[in-house]
């Protein structure tokens, strides 16, 4: 039986009857839009991207500045990820030339490997730099 659907922040989607492929798609899109509008999305995405790109322990103020960029890219658009990345990489905390001892993050394994390989002229037995089974230490083309 078709019912009113209550989403986050008290938003409701009207009951649909009969349910068709088109109405289901519309409900799904509306529900995703509803989630994106939730106030927790900016801090969540901002913190995760900061952890990947800059530091494992960002200050609350840093996350707040990135969240502000997520909420409004400067021209009233919410969710502009280009603006978010710009805010993350150009933040004073990311560019601080003398950061505190907790600043930064351990490189994940594949970035550690590529960091070394990119620093020099890397050679291999063949030109096929196959990447397989990188959980084994010896398995990088």
């Amino acid at each position: 039986m078709a019912q009113l659907k209550t989403l986050l922040n008290g938003v409701t989607l009207p009951a649909t009857s009969p349910v068709t492929a088109a109405s289901a798609t519309k409900d799904l899109n509306d529900a995703l839009d509803n989630i994106v509008q939730h106030q927790n999305v900016g801090p969540f995405i901002g913190r995760n991207l900061i952890e990947h790109l800059v530091t494992s322990n960002p200050s609350p103020a840093y996350i707040a500045r990135v969240t502000a960029a997520f909420n409004d890219n400067g021209s009233g658009v919410r969710g502009d990820l280009k603006a978010v990345i710009r805010a993350i990489l150009l933040d004073p905390e990311a560019l601080n030339p003398s950061p505190d001892s907790l600043f930064g993050h351990l490189l994940e394994p594949i970035l550690f490997k590529t960091r070394l390989l990119r620093a020099f002229d890397t050679m291999a037995a063949t030109t096929d730099f196959a990447l397989t089974d990188t959980y084994l230490p010896s398995e990088l083309g």
Partner: protein, 136 residues
Amino acid sequence: VSQDLFRSPSVFNYYPPAFSIPDVGVNGPEFAIQSTSTALARVNFVAETTYKTMFVSNPNRPTGTWLDLSSITPLTASPYQLTGTLNTLMLHGAMSADLHAAVNNALAGMTSATSLQKAQRAVYLIGSSPEFFVER
């Protein structure tokens, strides 16, 4: 090194975003897959590529990746110039004074080594240092 590329065990990546380093209490997501053995695997990877000891003949796995250090071997005549260049190449100029001194001391002790051996030793020491493991 505990990261099966393109085949993450979960849609939430290889490690959780909020992993607290045991006994330290500091957030460090990537440390969730950093263990005694994977830490050694990183050092081994540096050794294999700098000393050119990686396997070549595994079927379907054309390995044997190594670092061509010919661009820096001429610099080994002056250890300070070598560590300075490696500082720029590998650590974007952020090498600590302690690491500088450690590498220079190691090179100074290699009186009868070839320039390639010196270059390999310097790259290996810097590549296996904690400073090279983290991004700051």
